[in-house]
Protein backbone atom coordinates (compact mmCIF):
# COMPACT_ATOMS: atom_id res chain seq x y z
CA UNK A 1 0.00 0.00 0.00
CA UNK A 2 2.69 2.44 1.06
CA UNK A 3 4.83 1.35 -1.89
CA UNK A 4 2.07 2.17 -4.35
CA UNK A 5 1.55 5.56 -2.75
CA UNK A 6 5.26 6.21 -3.09
CA UNK A 7 5.18 5.25 -6.76
CA UNK A 8 2.25 7.57 -7.28
CA UNK A 9 4.08 10.47 -5.62
CA UNK A 10 7.20 9.86 -7.67
CA UNK A 11 5.15 9.73 -10.86
CA UNK A 12 3.42 12.97 -9.89
CA UNK A 13 6.73 14.66 -9.09
CA UNK A 14 8.20 13.61 -12.43
CA UNK A 15 5.09 14.84 -14.21
CA UNK A 16 5.23 18.24 -12.52
CA UNK A 17 8.93 18.87 -12.11
CA UNK A 18 10.27 17.18 -15.24
CA UNK A 19 11.46 19.42 -18.04
CA UNK A 20 10.11 19.17 -21.54
CA UNK A 21 12.44 19.09 -24.46
CA UNK A 22 11.89 22.31 -26.41
CA UNK A 23 10.56 22.43 -29.96
CA UNK A 24 7.56 20.78 -31.56
CA UNK A 25 7.59 19.06 -34.92
CA UNK A 26 11.16 19.49 -36.26
CA UNK A 27 10.02 18.85 -39.83
CA UNK A 28 7.44 21.69 -40.11
CA UNK A 29 8.47 25.27 -40.87
CA UNK A 30 8.19 27.46 -37.75
CA UNK A 31 5.95 30.55 -37.53
CA UNK A 32 7.33 31.84 -34.25
CA UNK A 33 11.15 31.92 -34.30
CA UNK A 34 12.87 29.58 -31.81
CA UNK A 35 14.60 30.76 -28.67
CA UNK A 36 16.71 29.19 -25.96
CA UNK A 37 15.14 28.22 -22.61
CA UNK A 38 15.53 30.55 -19.61
CA UNK A 39 15.34 28.48 -16.43
CA UNK A 40 15.79 31.44 -14.09
CA UNK A 41 12.87 33.26 -15.68
CA UNK A 42 10.75 30.13 -15.30
CA UNK A 43 11.67 30.04 -11.61
CA UNK A 44 10.64 33.68 -11.29
CA UNK A 45 7.29 33.05 -12.93
CA UNK A 46 6.74 30.07 -10.66
CA UNK A 47 7.54 32.19 -7.59
CA UNK A 48 5.21 34.95 -8.72
CA UNK A 49 2.42 32.46 -9.34
CA UNK A 50 3.04 31.23 -5.81
CA UNK A 51 2.78 34.76 -4.45
CA UNK A 52 -0.44 35.35 -6.38
CA UNK A 53 -1.89 32.14 -4.99
CA UNK A 54 -0.90 33.16 -1.48
CA UNK A 55 -2.53 36.58 -1.95
CA UNK A 56 -5.77 35.08 -3.21
CA UNK A 57 -5.90 32.60 -0.34
CA UNK A 58 -5.21 35.42 2.12
CA UNK A 59 -8.12 37.35 0.60
CA UNK A 60 -10.43 34.37 1.07
CA UNK A 61 -9.28 33.87 4.66
CA UNK A 62 -9.74 37.55 5.58
CA UNK A 63 -13.14 37.52 3.92
CA UNK A 64 -14.19 34.44 5.87
CA UNK A 65 -13.01 35.71 9.24
CA UNK A 66 -15.52 37.80 11.13
CA UNK A 67 -15.09 40.98 12.99
CA UNK A 68 -11.64 42.02 11.98
CA UNK A 69 -10.00 45.40 12.44
CA UNK A 70 -8.82 47.00 9.19
CA UNK A 71 -10.68 44.43 7.11
CA UNK A 72 -10.85 46.69 4.06
CA UNK A 73 -7.09 47.27 4.20
CA UNK A 74 -6.27 43.58 4.57
CA UNK A 75 -8.63 42.63 1.76
CA UNK A 76 -7.17 45.33 -0.47
CA UNK A 77 -3.56 44.36 0.19
CA UNK A 78 -4.25 40.63 -0.28
CA UNK A 79 -6.10 41.11 -3.56
CA UNK A 80 -3.67 43.78 -4.73
CA UNK A 81 -0.68 41.50 -4.08
CA UNK A 82 -2.37 38.67 -5.97
CA UNK A 83 -3.11 40.89 -8.97
CA UNK A 84 0.30 42.56 -8.98
CA UNK A 85 2.12 39.22 -8.71
CA UNK A 86 0.09 37.79 -11.57
CA UNK A 87 0.82 40.91 -13.61
CA UNK A 88 4.52 40.61 -12.90
CA UNK A 89 4.44 36.94 -13.94
CA UNK A 90 2.86 37.96 -17.26
CA UNK A 91 5.54 40.58 -17.72
CA UNK A 92 8.33 38.06 -17.13
CA UNK A 93 6.65 35.69 -19.58
CA UNK A 94 6.38 38.48 -22.14
CA UNK A 95 9.96 39.67 -21.88
CA UNK A 96 11.90 36.49 -20.99
CA UNK A 97 9.91 33.40 -21.91
CA UNK A 98 8.34 34.16 -25.26
CA UNK A 99 10.24 35.46 -28.24
CA UNK A 100 9.84 39.19 -28.86
CA UNK A 101 9.58 39.46 -32.62
CA UNK A 102 9.59 42.58 -34.68
CA UNK A 103 7.15 42.12 -37.54
CA UNK A 104 6.52 44.45 -40.41
CA UNK A 105 3.61 44.84 -42.77
CA UNK A 106 2.19 47.52 -45.06
CA UNK A 107 -0.28 50.02 -43.66
CA UNK A 108 -3.74 49.52 -45.16
CA UNK A 109 -4.66 51.81 -48.03
CA UNK A 110 -8.01 53.09 -49.28
CA UNK A 111 -10.07 50.96 -51.68
CA UNK A 112 -10.83 53.29 -54.56
CA UNK A 113 -12.43 50.60 -56.73
CA UNK A 114 -14.76 49.46 -53.97
CA UNK A 115 -15.71 53.05 -53.13
CA UNK A 116 -16.77 53.63 -56.71
CA UNK A 117 -18.65 50.36 -56.83
CA UNK A 118 -20.66 51.20 -53.70
CA UNK A 119 -21.57 54.64 -54.99
CA UNK A 120 -22.55 53.22 -58.36
CA UNK A 121 -24.60 50.45 -56.76
CA UNK A 122 -26.63 52.88 -54.69
CA UNK A 123 -27.12 55.30 -57.58
CA UNK A 124 -28.22 52.56 -60.00
CA UNK A 125 -30.65 51.10 -57.50
CA UNK A 126 -32.65 54.31 -57.51
CA UNK A 127 -32.53 55.25 -61.16
CA UNK A 128 -36.09 54.06 -61.89
CA UNK A 129 -37.38 56.86 -59.70
CA UNK A 130 -38.40 59.93 -61.71
CA UNK A 131 -39.56 62.50 -59.15
CA UNK A 132 -36.59 62.12 -56.87
CA UNK A 133 -36.77 65.51 -55.12
CA UNK A 134 -40.45 65.23 -54.27
CA UNK A 135 -39.98 61.70 -52.96
CA UNK A 136 -37.01 62.75 -50.87
CA UNK A 137 -39.07 65.58 -49.41
CA UNK A 138 -41.97 63.26 -48.68
CA UNK A 139 -39.71 60.71 -47.09
CA UNK A 140 -38.04 63.37 -44.96
CA UNK A 141 -41.44 64.67 -43.86
CA UNK A 142 -42.62 61.20 -42.89
CA UNK A 143 -39.39 60.34 -41.09
CA UNK A 144 -39.15 63.70 -39.34
CA UNK A 145 -42.71 63.73 -38.07
CA UNK A 146 -42.39 60.11 -36.95
CA UNK A 147 -39.29 61.13 -35.05
CA UNK A 148 -41.17 63.97 -33.37
CA UNK A 149 -44.06 61.65 -32.53
CA UNK A 150 -41.68 59.16 -30.95
CA UNK A 151 -39.91 61.88 -28.99
CA UNK A 152 -43.12 63.51 -27.72
CA UNK A 153 -43.65 61.06 -24.82
CA UNK A 154 -40.29 62.22 -23.46
CA UNK A 155 -41.89 65.58 -22.72
CA UNK A 156 -43.89 63.91 -19.98
CA UNK A 157 -40.73 63.54 -17.88
CA UNK A 158 -40.87 67.17 -16.81
CA UNK A 159 -43.11 70.24 -16.95
CA UNK A 160 -41.16 71.48 -19.97
CA UNK A 161 -43.23 74.49 -20.91
CA UNK A 162 -44.54 75.44 -17.50
CA UNK A 163 -41.61 77.38 -16.09
CA UNK A 164 -43.96 79.16 -13.67
CA UNK A 165 -43.11 76.31 -11.32
CA UNK A 166 -39.70 77.87 -10.80
CA UNK A 167 -41.12 81.07 -9.30
CA UNK A 168 -43.38 79.31 -6.79
CA UNK A 169 -42.58 79.32 -3.08
CA UNK A 170 -44.56 78.10 -0.07
CA UNK A 171 -44.56 81.59 1.46
CA UNK A 172 -47.61 83.88 1.62
CA UNK A 173 -48.83 86.58 3.94
CA UNK A 174 -49.48 85.23 7.41
CA UNK A 175 -47.44 82.00 7.17
CA UNK A 176 -45.48 81.52 10.40
CA UNK A 177 -41.71 81.00 10.53
CA UNK A 178 -40.57 77.87 12.39
CA UNK A 179 -37.10 76.68 13.40
CA UNK A 180 -35.37 73.35 12.63
CA UNK A 181 -37.45 71.62 15.31
CA UNK A 182 -40.71 73.07 13.95
CA UNK A 183 -41.29 75.58 16.78
CA UNK A 184 -42.57 79.05 15.97
CA UNK A 185 -39.97 81.77 16.32
CA UNK A 186 -40.62 84.70 18.66
CA UNK A 187 -39.30 88.04 17.40
CA UNK A 188 -37.54 88.75 20.66
CA UNK A 189 -35.73 85.40 20.45
CA UNK A 190 -33.83 86.73 17.44
CA UNK A 191 -30.63 88.27 18.77
CA UNK A 192 -28.11 90.51 17.10
CA UNK A 193 -24.84 88.88 16.02
CA UNK A 194 -26.64 85.52 15.69
CA UNK A 195 -28.17 83.88 12.65
CA UNK A 196 -31.10 81.53 12.30
CA UNK A 197 -32.49 79.18 9.70
CA UNK A 198 -36.28 79.26 9.41
CA UNK A 199 -38.84 77.24 7.46
CA UNK A 200 -42.49 77.79 6.51
CA UNK A 201 -44.88 76.25 8.99
CA UNK A 202 -46.66 73.22 7.62
CA UNK A 203 -44.92 73.11 4.25
CA UNK A 204 -42.31 70.94 2.57
CA UNK A 205 -38.82 72.01 3.68
CA UNK A 206 -36.97 70.27 0.86
CA UNK A 207 -37.70 72.86 -1.82
CA UNK A 208 -35.58 75.84 -2.79
CA UNK A 209 -38.42 78.21 -1.93
CA UNK A 210 -38.70 77.14 1.71
CA UNK A 211 -35.59 77.86 3.82
CA UNK A 212 -34.78 81.33 5.15
CA UNK A 213 -31.88 82.97 6.88
CA UNK A 214 -33.00 85.37 9.58
CA UNK A 215 -30.84 87.94 11.37
CA UNK A 216 -31.40 91.03 13.48
CA UNK A 217 -29.52 94.20 12.60
CA UNK A 218 -29.52 97.40 14.59
CA UNK A 219 -32.12 99.68 12.93
CA UNK A 220 -29.54 102.40 12.19
CA UNK A 221 -27.36 99.90 10.28
CA UNK A 222 -30.29 98.96 8.05
CA UNK A 223 -30.47 100.62 4.61
CA UNK A 224 -33.23 98.77 2.78
CA UNK A 225 -34.63 100.18 -0.47
CA UNK A 226 -37.49 102.65 0.24
CA UNK A 227 -40.19 100.35 -1.17
CA UNK A 228 -39.27 97.76 1.46
CA UNK A 229 -40.12 99.98 4.40
CA UNK A 230 -41.77 97.88 7.08
CA UNK A 231 -40.27 94.61 5.81
CA UNK A 232 -37.92 94.39 8.79
CA UNK A 233 -39.84 94.74 12.08
CA UNK A 234 -37.43 95.58 14.94
CA UNK A 235 -34.56 95.32 12.44
CA UNK A 236 -35.21 91.59 11.80
CA UNK A 237 -34.60 90.70 8.15
CA UNK A 238 -35.30 87.40 6.39
CA UNK A 239 -33.82 86.26 3.07
CA UNK A 240 -34.03 83.12 0.97
CA UNK A 241 -31.34 80.68 2.13
CA UNK A 242 -30.69 79.55 -1.44
CA UNK A 243 -27.92 81.31 -3.34
CA UNK A 244 -29.01 83.10 -6.52
CA UNK A 245 -25.83 81.93 -8.24
CA UNK A 246 -25.93 78.14 -8.29
CA UNK A 247 -28.45 77.07 -5.66
CA UNK A 248 -26.33 76.08 -2.65
CA UNK A 249 -27.50 76.91 0.86
CA UNK A 250 -26.23 80.16 2.40
CA UNK A 251 -24.87 78.35 5.43
CA UNK A 252 -22.51 81.09 6.46
CA UNK A 253 -23.08 84.39 8.29
CA UNK A 254 -20.15 86.56 9.14
CA UNK A 255 -20.59 89.21 11.79
CA UNK A 256 -17.87 91.47 13.18
CA UNK A 257 -16.93 91.37 16.85
CA UNK A 258 -15.31 94.80 16.60
CA UNK A 259 -17.17 96.50 13.72
CA UNK A 260 -14.83 99.49 13.71
CA UNK A 261 -12.05 97.57 11.96
CA UNK A 262 -13.65 94.31 10.83
CA UNK A 263 -15.71 93.46 7.70
CA UNK A 264 -19.43 94.23 7.79
CA UNK A 265 -22.08 91.55 8.40
CA UNK A 266 -22.72 89.37 5.35
CA UNK A 267 -24.28 86.12 4.17
CA UNK A 268 -21.89 83.88 2.26
CA UNK A 269 -22.56 80.85 0.09
CA UNK A 270 -19.81 78.27 0.75
CA UNK A 271 -19.90 76.87 -2.81
CA UNK A 272 -18.47 79.83 -4.74
CA UNK A 273 -18.29 82.43 -1.95
CA UNK A 274 -20.95 84.79 -3.25
CA UNK A 275 -21.40 87.35 -0.48
CA UNK A 276 -24.65 89.23 0.19
CA UNK A 277 -25.35 92.28 2.34
CA UNK A 278 -28.30 91.79 4.71
CA UNK A 279 -28.44 95.51 5.50
CA UNK A 280 -29.13 96.70 1.95
CA UNK A 281 -31.67 94.15 0.72
CA UNK A 282 -29.36 91.26 -0.08
CA UNK A 283 -27.17 93.03 -2.65
CA UNK A 284 -24.04 91.24 -3.85
CA UNK A 285 -20.78 92.28 -2.12
CA UNK A 286 -18.38 89.73 -3.60
CA UNK A 287 -18.33 86.56 -5.66
CA UNK A 288 -20.04 85.41 -8.83
CA UNK A 289 -23.74 85.81 -7.95
CA UNK A 290 -25.36 88.21 -10.39
CA UNK A 291 -28.62 88.85 -8.55
CA UNK A 292 -29.50 90.03 -5.05
CA UNK A 293 -30.74 87.54 -2.48
CA UNK A 294 -34.57 87.63 -2.45
CA UNK A 295 -35.93 89.18 0.74
CA UNK A 296 -39.06 88.01 2.55
CA UNK A 297 -41.15 90.75 4.21
CA UNK A 298 -41.83 89.97 7.87
CA UNK A 299 -44.41 90.92 10.46
CA UNK A 300 -44.75 90.21 14.15
CA UNK A 301 -48.11 88.70 15.09
CA UNK A 302 -50.09 89.37 18.29
CA UNK A 303 -48.32 86.61 20.21
CA UNK A 304 -44.98 88.10 19.23
CA UNK A 305 -44.07 85.43 16.64
CA UNK A 306 -42.57 86.06 13.23
CA UNK A 307 -44.74 85.60 10.15
CA UNK A 308 -44.31 86.32 6.46
CA UNK A 309 -45.94 89.57 5.33
CA UNK A 310 -45.99 88.44 1.70
CA UNK A 311 -43.83 86.58 -0.76
CA UNK A 312 -40.18 87.16 -1.66
CA UNK A 313 -38.93 90.28 -3.44
CA UNK A 314 -38.05 88.11 -6.44
CA UNK A 315 -37.80 84.48 -7.59
CA UNK A 316 -35.64 82.31 -5.33
CA UNK A 317 -32.75 80.08 -6.31
CA UNK A 318 -30.43 80.17 -9.34
CA UNK A 319 -31.31 82.55 -12.17
CA UNK A 320 -32.68 81.67 -15.57
CA UNK A 321 -33.60 83.41 -18.81
CA UNK A 322 -35.93 86.26 -17.91
CA UNK A 323 -35.79 85.67 -14.15
CA UNK A 324 -35.84 89.37 -13.33
CA UNK A 325 -39.20 89.89 -15.01
CA UNK A 326 -40.78 87.13 -12.88
CA UNK A 327 -42.38 87.55 -9.47
CA UNK A 328 -42.26 85.04 -6.65
CA UNK A 329 -45.69 83.39 -6.45
CA UNK A 330 -47.51 81.33 -3.89
CA UNK A 331 -47.63 77.62 -4.50
Amino acid sequence: MIGRLKDLLVALAVLLLGRRRPGGDPEAERIVPPGSPDRRAEAWVLALFGLATAGSIAFLVVYALDPLAHRTQLLGVALGVALAALGAACLVIATRLVVTEELEEPYPAEHVGDQDAVAQLVAESGDRITRRRLLTLGGAAAGGTLGLALLAPALAVGPVFDTDELAKTPWRRGRALVDEAGRRIAADAIEEEAFYTAFPEGADRETVGAPLVVVRLSPDALHLPPERRGWAPEGIVAYSKICTHAGCAIALYRKPTFPAVEPRPAFVCPCHYSTFDPATGGTVLFGPAGRALPQLPLLVDRSGNLRAAGNFSGPVGPSWWGVRSRKARGA
Binding site: R71, T72, Q73, G76, G87, L91, A94, E180, A189, E191, E193, A194, F195, Y196, T197, A249, I250, A251, L252, Y253, R254, K255, P256, T257, F258, A260, V261, E262, P263, A266, V268, P270, Y273, T275, L285, F286, G287
Partner: protein, 260 residues
Protein backbone atom coordinates in the same frame (compact mmCIF):
# COMPACT_ATOMS: atom_id res chain seq x y z
CA UNK B 1 1.27 92.31 -7.25
CA UNK B 2 1.50 92.21 -3.49
CA UNK B 3 -1.10 89.49 -3.51
CA UNK B 4 0.86 87.57 -6.13
CA UNK B 5 4.02 87.83 -4.09
CA UNK B 6 2.17 86.79 -1.01
CA UNK B 7 0.72 83.80 -2.87
CA UNK B 8 4.09 82.73 -4.17
CA UNK B 9 5.73 83.27 -0.81
CA UNK B 10 3.11 81.32 1.04
CA UNK B 11 3.18 78.50 -1.49
CA UNK B 12 6.95 78.35 -1.32
CA UNK B 13 7.33 78.77 2.39
CA UNK B 14 4.34 77.32 4.22
CA UNK B 15 6.53 76.79 7.25
CA UNK B 16 7.39 80.46 7.36
CA UNK B 17 3.76 81.51 6.99
CA UNK B 18 2.81 79.30 9.92
CA UNK B 19 5.70 80.39 12.14
CA UNK B 20 4.80 81.30 15.68
CA UNK B 21 5.11 84.90 16.81
CA UNK B 22 7.97 85.57 19.20
CA UNK B 23 7.28 86.48 22.79
CA UNK B 24 7.45 90.19 22.23
CA UNK B 25 5.15 92.83 23.60
CA UNK B 26 4.55 90.87 26.79
CA UNK B 27 5.07 92.98 29.81
CA UNK B 28 5.58 90.82 32.90
CA UNK B 29 4.99 92.80 36.10
CA UNK B 30 7.50 92.47 38.82
CA UNK B 31 4.94 91.15 41.29
CA UNK B 32 6.10 89.29 44.41
CA UNK B 33 5.00 85.62 44.64
CA UNK B 34 2.22 86.23 47.13
CA UNK B 35 0.36 88.79 44.98
CA UNK B 36 -3.41 88.06 44.87
CA UNK B 37 -4.62 86.71 41.54
CA UNK B 38 -6.83 89.67 40.69
CA UNK B 39 -4.07 92.13 41.56
CA UNK B 40 -1.63 90.25 39.28
CA UNK B 41 -4.32 90.27 36.62
CA UNK B 42 -4.76 94.00 36.97
CA UNK B 43 -1.02 94.56 36.51
CA UNK B 44 -0.84 92.21 33.51
CA UNK B 45 -3.89 93.90 31.99
CA UNK B 46 -2.39 97.33 32.44
CA UNK B 47 0.83 96.24 30.78
CA UNK B 48 -0.51 94.09 27.95
CA UNK B 49 -4.18 94.80 27.25
CA UNK B 50 -5.11 98.30 28.27
CA UNK B 51 -3.50 99.92 25.24
CA UNK B 52 -6.19 98.44 22.99
CA UNK B 53 -9.03 97.54 25.35
CA UNK B 54 -8.79 100.71 27.42
CA UNK B 55 -8.56 101.29 31.11
CA UNK B 56 -10.76 98.84 33.02
CA UNK B 57 -12.06 97.37 29.75
CA UNK B 58 -13.60 100.57 28.42
CA UNK B 59 -12.47 99.85 24.86
CA UNK B 60 -10.56 102.08 22.43
CA UNK B 61 -12.13 103.26 19.20
CA UNK B 62 -9.73 103.39 16.19
CA UNK B 63 -9.81 107.21 15.92
CA UNK B 64 -8.51 107.60 19.48
CA UNK B 65 -5.51 105.41 18.93
CA UNK B 66 -2.15 107.00 19.67
CA UNK B 67 0.25 106.97 16.76
CA UNK B 68 3.95 106.24 16.96
CA UNK B 69 3.75 102.67 18.27
CA UNK B 70 5.12 100.97 15.18
CA UNK B 71 2.44 99.20 13.15
CA UNK B 72 0.31 98.33 16.16
CA UNK B 73 -3.17 99.78 15.86
CA UNK B 74 -4.09 100.51 19.41
CA UNK B 75 -7.82 99.92 19.19
CA UNK B 76 -10.08 97.23 20.53
CA UNK B 77 -13.60 96.42 21.70
CA UNK B 78 -14.70 97.12 25.30
CA UNK B 79 -14.42 94.19 27.69
CA UNK B 80 -16.95 95.22 30.35
CA UNK B 81 -19.41 92.42 30.82
CA UNK B 82 -17.74 89.93 28.45
CA UNK B 83 -16.88 87.88 31.51
CA UNK B 84 -14.30 85.24 32.32
CA UNK B 85 -15.72 83.17 29.40
CA UNK B 86 -14.37 85.46 26.69
CA UNK B 87 -11.06 86.12 28.47
CA UNK B 88 -10.51 82.40 28.98
CA UNK B 89 -11.21 81.68 25.30
CA UNK B 90 -9.09 84.45 23.78
CA UNK B 91 -6.12 83.86 26.09
CA UNK B 92 -5.98 80.06 26.13
CA UNK B 93 -6.24 79.86 22.34
CA UNK B 94 -3.39 82.35 22.04
CA UNK B 95 -5.73 84.68 20.08
CA UNK B 96 -4.66 87.53 22.37
CA UNK B 97 -2.54 89.55 22.56
CA UNK B 98 -2.98 90.57 18.93
CA UNK B 99 -0.38 92.58 17.01
CA UNK B 100 -2.92 94.59 15.01
CA UNK B 101 -6.60 95.10 15.69
CA UNK B 102 -7.57 94.62 12.03
CA UNK B 103 -6.15 91.13 11.47
CA UNK B 104 -7.80 87.84 12.31
CA UNK B 105 -6.67 86.44 15.67
CA UNK B 106 -5.26 82.97 15.12
CA UNK B 107 -4.47 80.05 17.36
CA UNK B 108 -0.88 80.48 18.44
CA UNK B 109 1.52 79.81 21.30
CA UNK B 110 0.15 81.14 24.59
CA UNK B 111 2.64 83.77 25.71
CA UNK B 112 1.42 83.98 29.29
CA UNK B 113 2.11 81.37 31.93
CA UNK B 114 -0.94 79.40 33.18
CA UNK B 115 -0.98 81.46 36.39
CA UNK B 116 -0.82 84.69 34.40
CA UNK B 117 -3.77 83.52 32.28
CA UNK B 118 -5.72 82.65 35.43
CA UNK B 119 -4.95 86.12 36.76
CA UNK B 120 -6.06 87.89 33.58
CA UNK B 121 -9.24 85.77 33.35
CA UNK B 122 -10.03 86.63 36.96
CA UNK B 123 -9.44 90.32 36.35
CA UNK B 124 -11.46 90.57 33.10
CA UNK B 125 -14.19 88.49 34.72
CA UNK B 126 -14.43 91.07 37.47
CA UNK B 127 -15.20 93.88 34.97
CA UNK B 128 -18.97 94.00 34.90
CA UNK B 129 -21.18 90.92 35.39
CA UNK B 130 -20.12 88.66 32.57
CA UNK B 131 -20.68 84.92 32.21
CA UNK B 132 -18.25 82.44 33.80
CA UNK B 133 -16.18 79.85 31.96
CA UNK B 134 -18.62 77.15 30.71
CA UNK B 135 -18.21 73.50 31.69
CA UNK B 136 -19.42 71.38 28.75
CA UNK B 137 -20.17 67.67 29.20
CA UNK B 138 -19.47 65.94 25.88
CA UNK B 139 -19.99 62.57 27.56
CA UNK B 140 -23.68 63.49 27.98
CA UNK B 141 -23.96 64.47 24.32
CA UNK B 142 -25.02 62.36 21.36
CA UNK B 143 -22.61 62.29 18.43
CA UNK B 144 -25.34 61.67 15.83
CA UNK B 145 -27.41 64.60 17.09
CA UNK B 146 -24.19 66.59 17.19
CA UNK B 147 -23.53 65.88 13.50
CA UNK B 148 -26.98 67.22 12.56
CA UNK B 149 -26.57 70.31 14.74
CA UNK B 150 -23.05 70.87 13.48
CA UNK B 151 -24.29 70.61 9.87
CA UNK B 152 -27.08 73.10 10.57
CA UNK B 153 -25.03 75.69 12.46
CA UNK B 154 -21.30 75.18 11.97
CA UNK B 155 -20.44 73.29 8.76
CA UNK B 156 -20.97 76.33 6.51
CA UNK B 157 -17.74 77.78 7.89
CA UNK B 158 -15.87 75.01 9.70
CA UNK B 159 -16.52 72.24 7.09
CA UNK B 160 -18.71 69.29 8.01
CA UNK B 161 -15.83 67.22 9.43
CA UNK B 162 -14.52 70.30 11.32
CA UNK B 163 -11.42 70.63 9.11
CA UNK B 164 -11.84 74.41 8.81
CA UNK B 165 -12.91 76.60 5.92
CA UNK B 166 -12.78 79.94 4.20
CA UNK B 167 -15.14 82.93 4.21
CA UNK B 168 -14.52 86.32 2.61
CA UNK B 169 -12.33 88.15 5.10
CA UNK B 170 -11.33 85.30 7.36
CA UNK B 171 -10.46 81.66 7.77
CA UNK B 172 -12.72 79.53 9.93
CA UNK B 173 -10.15 77.51 11.87
CA UNK B 174 -10.06 73.72 11.86
CA UNK B 175 -11.28 72.46 15.23
CA UNK B 176 -8.75 69.68 15.78
CA UNK B 177 -6.97 71.66 18.50
CA UNK B 178 -10.06 73.20 20.09
CA UNK B 179 -10.75 71.82 23.56
CA UNK B 180 -14.36 71.06 24.59
CA UNK B 181 -14.35 74.21 26.75
CA UNK B 182 -13.09 76.35 23.89
CA UNK B 183 -15.76 74.97 21.53
CA UNK B 184 -18.45 75.74 24.10
CA UNK B 185 -17.01 79.23 24.66
CA UNK B 186 -16.75 80.03 20.93
CA UNK B 187 -20.37 78.98 20.30
CA UNK B 188 -21.60 81.42 22.94
CA UNK B 189 -19.15 84.27 22.26
CA UNK B 190 -18.87 84.26 18.47
CA UNK B 191 -15.21 85.31 18.25
CA UNK B 192 -14.04 87.58 15.40
CA UNK B 193 -16.44 87.10 12.43
CA UNK B 194 -18.27 84.08 13.87
CA UNK B 195 -21.92 84.60 14.82
CA UNK B 196 -22.89 83.75 18.37
CA UNK B 197 -25.48 81.20 19.47
CA UNK B 198 -27.39 81.83 22.67
CA UNK B 199 -29.05 79.11 24.73
CA UNK B 200 -32.30 79.87 22.88
CA UNK B 201 -30.68 78.92 19.57
CA UNK B 202 -28.53 76.05 20.87
CA UNK B 203 -29.41 74.69 24.31
CA UNK B 204 -26.71 73.50 26.70
CA UNK B 205 -27.78 69.92 26.00
CA UNK B 206 -27.44 70.48 22.27
CA UNK B 207 -24.10 72.15 22.87
CA UNK B 208 -22.92 68.99 24.67
CA UNK B 209 -23.82 67.02 21.53
CA UNK B 210 -21.98 69.47 19.29
CA UNK B 211 -18.90 69.25 21.53
CA UNK B 212 -19.19 65.46 21.49
CA UNK B 213 -19.30 65.55 17.68
CA UNK B 214 -16.29 67.87 17.46
CA UNK B 215 -14.39 65.54 19.79
CA UNK B 216 -15.38 62.59 17.56
CA UNK B 217 -14.44 64.48 14.40
CA UNK B 218 -10.89 64.94 15.71
CA UNK B 219 -10.36 61.19 15.46
CA UNK B 220 -13.21 59.63 13.51
CA UNK B 221 -13.21 56.02 12.37
CA UNK B 222 -11.35 55.72 9.10
CA UNK B 223 -12.45 52.29 7.89
CA UNK B 224 -11.31 53.16 4.36
CA UNK B 225 -7.62 53.49 5.21
CA UNK B 226 -5.46 56.60 5.06
CA UNK B 227 -7.66 59.58 5.88
CA UNK B 228 -5.84 62.06 3.53
CA UNK B 229 -7.21 65.11 5.32
CA UNK B 230 -10.93 64.21 5.37
CA UNK B 231 -11.77 67.16 3.16
CA UNK B 232 -12.81 65.19 0.11
CA UNK B 233 -11.95 65.66 -3.55
CA UNK B 234 -8.89 67.96 -3.51
CA UNK B 235 -6.47 65.50 -1.85
CA UNK B 236 -8.26 62.63 -3.60
CA UNK B 237 -7.51 64.21 -6.96
CA UNK B 238 -3.87 64.68 -6.00
CA UNK B 239 -3.64 60.97 -5.10
CA UNK B 240 -5.44 59.97 -8.32
CA UNK B 241 -2.84 61.88 -10.37
CA UNK B 242 0.37 61.54 -8.41
CA UNK B 243 -0.08 58.05 -6.97
CA UNK B 244 -2.55 56.24 -9.22
CA UNK B 245 -1.66 57.97 -12.48
CA UNK B 246 2.06 57.99 -11.75
CA UNK B 247 2.09 54.29 -10.83
CA UNK B 248 0.27 53.36 -14.02
CA UNK B 249 2.51 55.51 -16.22
CA UNK B 250 5.37 53.69 -14.48
CA UNK B 251 3.78 50.36 -15.46
CA UNK B 252 3.45 51.55 -19.07
CA UNK B 253 7.11 52.58 -19.14
CA UNK B 254 8.09 49.22 -17.63
CA UNK B 255 6.11 47.27 -20.24
CA UNK B 256 6.53 49.40 -23.35
CA UNK B 257 9.57 50.52 -25.26
CA UNK B 258 11.35 53.49 -23.66
CA UNK B 259 12.34 56.62 -25.43
CA UNK B 260 15.73 56.37 -27.03
Amino acid sequence: MRALLATLLALALPALAAAEPPRVGIVTPNAPPGTPLRELGYQLYAGNCAECHGTAGAGVAPSQSANGTGDIHAAGPPLRGVGARAADFYLRTGYMPLARADVQPRRSRVLFTPREVDALVAYVGSLGHGPPVPRPHPERGDVAAGLSLFTDHCAGCHQVAARGGYLPGAVAPPLDEATPTQVAEAVRIGPYLMPLFSTRAISDRQLDSIVAYVEYAKRPQDPGGLAIGRIGPVPEGLIAWFVGGAALVGCCVMIGKKAR
